[in-house]
């Protein structure tokens, strides 16, 4: 019964206890009782970060369940709201941009085009936004009991995933109505795109969730980022409009390296492209951009973990 996660040293603490020069290190091995020799000395609270979340996935499941139950508590429609909200959002965009701005004429099955981008953005906004607030929101637990705190941002991402699924189902119905014939590669790309998005959102959520503990300004910064991000990717317009404006230069590359833009394009390829006549152009060098986007997401997750670890010891006293 050990929560041992390997000897990990945080900021020079912890490891010293086991060093031979320690005054208590004279206790020789013969004295160790059999029941306890599996445990090793380590600094309390110095877990394995995201690896600990994996080890405690049962707790993660309960935290996600708690979150969902608390959110829909006392609500008649409950989870149905996660269908209604995107549907209304879709309706507004569809009429304002599709009909009034005549995008319906410019893009084949524009409804599917629009919705495949919207669901990517909805998932990202919810996951990133809630992960940012997850540490401050669970202050009672963070302040009083030690848990791998990464659990909270990860739980936020999972909660967002449960809201993402109904949207995908609605979209798939829309795709089937418009005549959807995806290849296995297009479906696989969709799953891969989602994973890139989840990793990116979690990485950013870890960074801003930790910073938000020290300065609550960061939740507003995140709201601002999300507002810009919603319009910064080809959700309601097409990528060709951006290239026409930016040209083929570094600005275009910069635009294309945004993981969000790539995932939106991947979702277009998965859901929208197979409903069209296949004449619409897809961005050239797409595989390169996707590889860069995946790389960026993984790097952001790595940075997120480091930043989070860096602030973790201060959470309890800052809240």
């Amino acid at each position: 019964m050990v929560v041992s996660s390997g000897p990990r040293q945080t900021g020079g603490h912890g490891g010293r206890g086991a060093s031979p020069s320690h005054p208590t290190a004279h206790l020789d091995k013969a004295h160790i009782t059999p029941m306890s020799d599996t445990a090793i000395f380590q600094a309390p609270g110095s877990g394995g970060g995201l690896l600990d979340v994996f080890r405690r996935r049962y707790l993660l499941r309960l935290l996600v369940h708690k979150e969902l139950k608390a959110r829909y508590h006392g609500s008649v429609l409950g989870m149905l709201w996660s269908y209604i909200k995107p549907a209304v959002q879709f309706g507004v965009f569809y009429f304002v941009i599709g009909v009034f701005f005549k995008m319906n004429n410019a893009v084949d099955s524009y409804a599917v085009y629009l919705f495949s981008g919207i669901i990517a953005m909805n998932f990202f906004s919810e996951a990133f936004g809630n992960a940012t607030r997850s540490i401050t929101g669970n202050w009672a637990l963070v302040k009083k009991i030690y848990l791998p705190r990464e659990l909270f941002p990860v739980a936020s991402v999972f909660v967002s995933f449960t809201h993402f699924i109904p949207q995908v189902l609605v979209l798939i119905v829309g795709c089937l109505v418009t005549g959807w014939h995806p290849t296995i590669w297009q479906l696989a790309a969709g799953v891969g795109g989602f994973l890139v998005l989840a990793v990116f959102a979690l990485g950013l959520g870890l960074i801003f969730g930790a910073l938000n503990v020290v300065f609550r300004d960061f939740e507003n910064v995140v709201d601002l980022i999300l507002m810009v991000a919603t319009w910064g990717s080809p959700v309601i317009y097409t990528w060709t409009a951006v290239r026409d404006a930016l040209g083929d230069g570094p600005l275009w590359w910069f635009y294309q390296c945004n993981p969000l833009t790539n995932v939106v394009e991947i979702f277009h390829w998965t859901f929208w492209y197979p409903t069209t006549d296949g004449q619409a152009p897809m961005p050239t060098q797409m595989p390169t951009f996707v590889a860069i986007a995946a790389g960026v997401s993984v790097v952001v997750l790595g940075i997120g973990q480091l930043v989070f670890r860096r602030f973790d010891g201060r959470f309890a006293q800052e809240l």
Partner: protein
């Protein structure tokens, strides 16, 4: 500290200090103004909660942390549990840590008693199988059988605390931390909690108890640590520790 008979250490605290920064403001305007006026020191205050504390606790040992309010007892418990990190020195523990500290912290009012048992058990480090195995005992201990499927927000404060305690005392940590056990529940329930803690001690768990109830800790522990304004002023037999604390409080 050589007189103790112990198999092996559970907690090693080596020259630990903990400071808190009390910021008076976070507003940019004030920070800039004070900064320009060269009065940056007025923006925050340093407060040392623990200063150079060294301590080793062995397996099967029960110790009491004594001291007046603000002496650093709870901070030390938080450092041992890992909720906070030390600023100087090192702390190492062997095995997992749980205990009776803020027992209701993991409870959610919208969940039922049953759901809260599972959530809290998992928060305190119990596995799914272990919670299933202990479930009936936890419910019996809390004496709220008929309300177990009621949402916790409808519980009286006594029921809430009984359930929270019941979960906490059924975890199976190697190091058990106890902060002010007698502050809650009616007398029969307090006795039940004390019996359970005695049981844990007899099972050879490492116990660290913080309490102002000097008679109670005298019965539970042989060793007492006295803290005063963050410094350790005594580490020895509990009788001496209690006497020292009483003498200090009077003087």
């Amino acid at each position: 500290m050589g007189q103790r008979q112990l198999d092996q250490d559970r907690i090693r605290i080596d020259r630990v200090s903990k400071h808190f920064t009390l910021r008076h403001t976070r507003a940019v305007k004030e920070i800039v103004v004070k900064g320009l006026q060269g009065r940056r020191k007025e923006l925050s205050e340093q407060f040392t909660a623990l200063r150079d504390v060294s301590l080793t606790v062995g397996e099967g040992e029960a110790i009491a942390l004594l001291g007046r309010n603000g002496s650093g007892k709870s901070t030390l418990l938080k450092l041992i549990s890992g909720v906070m990190g030390a600023d100087e020195g090192s702390i190492a523990v062997r095995g997992n840590v749980a205990g009776l500290i803020d027992v209701g912290a993991g409870f959610h009012p919208d969940l039922t008693g049953r759901e809260n048992i599972f959530l809290n058990g998992a928060i305190l480090g119990m596995s799914e199988a272990k919670i299933h195995q202990e479930f009936d005992r936890i419910v019996a201990f809390s004496e709220i059988e008929e309300f177990i499927d009621t949402e916790v927000k409808f519980y009286s404060s006594g029921m809430f605390l009984r359930l929270a305690f019941a979960v906490a005392v059924h975890t199976d940590p190697d190091i058990f931390l106890v902060d002010e056990i007698l502050a809650v529940g009616d007398e029969p329930f307090q006795h039940k909690c004390l019996d359970r803690i005695r049981e844990l001690r007899d099972e050879g768990k490492c116990l660290v108890i913080v309490s102002h109830d000097l008679d109670m800790v005298s019965k539970f522990t042989e060793r007492g640590i006295v803290l005063e304004r963050g410094r350790m002023i005594h580490d020895g037999p509990i009788g001496e520790a209690v006497a020292l604390l009483r003498q200090r409080s009077e003087g």
